[in-house]
């Protein structure tokens, strides 16, 4: 009995007697250990905000990359193992370019999200493989101008959201977003909501412009834009988040 338990605990391809894949669930734990990333969809575009943990003043803050551009019109945020995220980011970039080569058109966000989750799923069903210990939030504008926001999880399931969070403090962040999300938010309102959610739940120090990354994909330009530190600082000042703890 003991041996059997260990077998399905260790084996990625083996179900437990109650139908669970423990390795996938452990991968979700790895996601929870990561710092949070938040995505908010508005009619004007989609916002991604990532909490960046700068563990030493000697570390170059910009070298902690949690937001990645996939194509002109799509960006992703990650939570969990950064190295795993980078593999999925490269896979997504390659798929986006493959779509352009094959059809001479930009890929739509849902198709990209499903290409990525299908790839993640293969790593839950093959012996010797380890699942991806990362969750992605995929934000983009479809070729027809519709803003879209998806989440991928380590099982390889895609979800679409109006607003969502992955990583640490997940329950608190979702609670905040569920309470404060409004359908009539504009893009700046989306940035404010995402920052406010992180500010509300961040238990250690106050948010400052160096400890968060903000990226938007707006409907008008359909391009990915990373906000500069001073832009982030002015958003934070407006929210009175920066000074709260000082």
């Amino acid at each position: 009995m003991q041996d059997n338990q260990q077998a399905y605990d260790r084996g990625i391809t083996i179900f437990s007697p109650d139908g669970r894949l423990y390795q996938v669930e452990y991968a979700r734990e790895a996601v929870k250990r990561g710092t949070a990333s938040v995505g908010v969809r508005t009619d004007d575009g989609v916002v991604l905000v990532a909490d960046r943990q700068v563990r030493s003043p000697l570390l170059e803050a910009d070298s902690i990359e949690k937001l990645h551009r996939i194509d002109d019109h799509i960006a992703v945020a990650s939570a969990g193992h950064v190295a795993d995220a980078r593999q999925l980011v490269e896979f997504a970039r390659t798929q986006a370019q493959r779509h352009r080569l094959r059809y001479d058109e930009p890929i739509d966000v849902e198709t990209l999200a499903k290409e990525v989750t299908d790839y993640i799923q293969r790593y839950t069903q093959s012996g010797g493989a380890r699942p991806f210990g990362v969750a992605l939030v995929i934000a983009g504008i479809d070729p027809d101008g519709t803003p879209r926001l998806f989440e991928t999880d380590p099982s390889g399931t895609p979800y679409e959201w109006t607003a969502t969070a992955v990583g640490g403090d997940h329950a608190a962040l979702m609670g905040y977003l569920e309470e404060h999300y409004r359908e009539d938010l504009d893009l700046d309102g989306g940035v404010a909501l995402a920052l406010a959610a992180l500010g509300e739940t961040d238990d250690d120090d106050a948010l400052d412009a160096d400890s968060v990354e903000v990226t938007t994909v707006d409907v008008e330009s359909t391009t990915v834009r990373s906000l500069e530190a001073d832009e982030i600082a002015s958003h934070l000042a407006e929210l009175n988040l920066e000074d709260d703890h000082e």
Partner: protein
């Protein structure tokens, strides 16, 4: 080959952008060498062909002749349908080797169907033609020169695809051995605002002219009409019968 492999099959996880998703020839199948190709060539059915596509503001019309020939000197079939629906609002013509064109049509139809169920919307005609060009350039087909014609959200489109993968959009286009005769009929007569009936008559007259003088074309006409709603295909033993008043 990308750097990403499928952990179960070991195959490329991204996929060749120029290859069909299904029905790729197995690499262990021996390719035909030059000598065999020469010997077989006389037995390969060619369409010879005149295929015409005309785009108007109201939809597109495609007209094709119905003759297949061997070496351009023997009529091997008098009732070939050389235009097929491959998409909810697009058709493609068979030009070149009949086997190559038929296989090409089956593959493109499967790709268009897969795209539509995966994306929820049908492919744009530009995407469809780009894919066809990729297949013609990198795929297992040879000696095909089709027209892809259809409608989408951005209007009516006619594309020609050449055997090296060249993809060109135009208001009207002709491919096949009777192309010079057909173009002569259309030049000066085309008007983008012409009615669908007028475009149909022009396309039919172009095929009729080619059928008179090109030995690879003849035996009546098939007319395909694509509006933004659907595709209609009609067959006529005599070209005159296809003209509308």
């Amino acid at each position: 080959m990308s750097e990403f492999t499928d952990p179960i099959t070991g195959a490329d996880a991204v996929g060749d952008p120029t290859a069909p998703e299904l029905g790729v020839p197995q690499p262990d199948v021996p390719q035909r060498d030059a000598q065999t190709a020469d010997r077989d060539d006389a037995a390969v059915n060619k369409t010879g062909t005149t295929t015409v596509g005309i785009a108007t503001d109201h939809g597109v019309v495609v007209a094709t002749d119905r003759r297949a020939s061997l070496g351009g000197r023997f009529v091997s079939n008098k009732s070939v349908q050389k235009v097929e629906q491959i998409h909810p609002t697009a058709v493609m013509t068979l030009v070149g080797s009949v086997g190559g064109a038929q296989s090409f049509i089956r593959s493109l139809r499967a790709e268009a169907d897969l795209y539509e169920v995966r994306h929820g919307d049908p492919m744009s005609i530009h995407a469809l033609s780009t894919l066809a060009g990729n297949f013609a350039r990198g795929g297992p087909w040879f000696a095909i020169n089709p027209i892809i014609a259809g409608t989408d959200e951005t209007g009516s489109h006619v594309y020609s695809v050449d055997p090296a993968g060249g993809v060109m959009a135009d208001d009207y286009t002709v491919t096949g051995s009777g192309m010079q005769l057909a173009y002569g009929t259309i030049e000066g007569e085309y008007d983008p605002e012409m009615s669908l009936d007028a475009a149909r008559n022009l396309a039919v007259r172009a095929v009729a002219a080619a059928s008179e003088r090109d030995t690879g074309s003849g035996n009546g006409v098939v007319v395909a009409t694509v509006t933004d709603e659907d595709v209609g295909i009609e067959t006529f033993d005599e070209t005159d019968a296809a003209l509308v008043a």
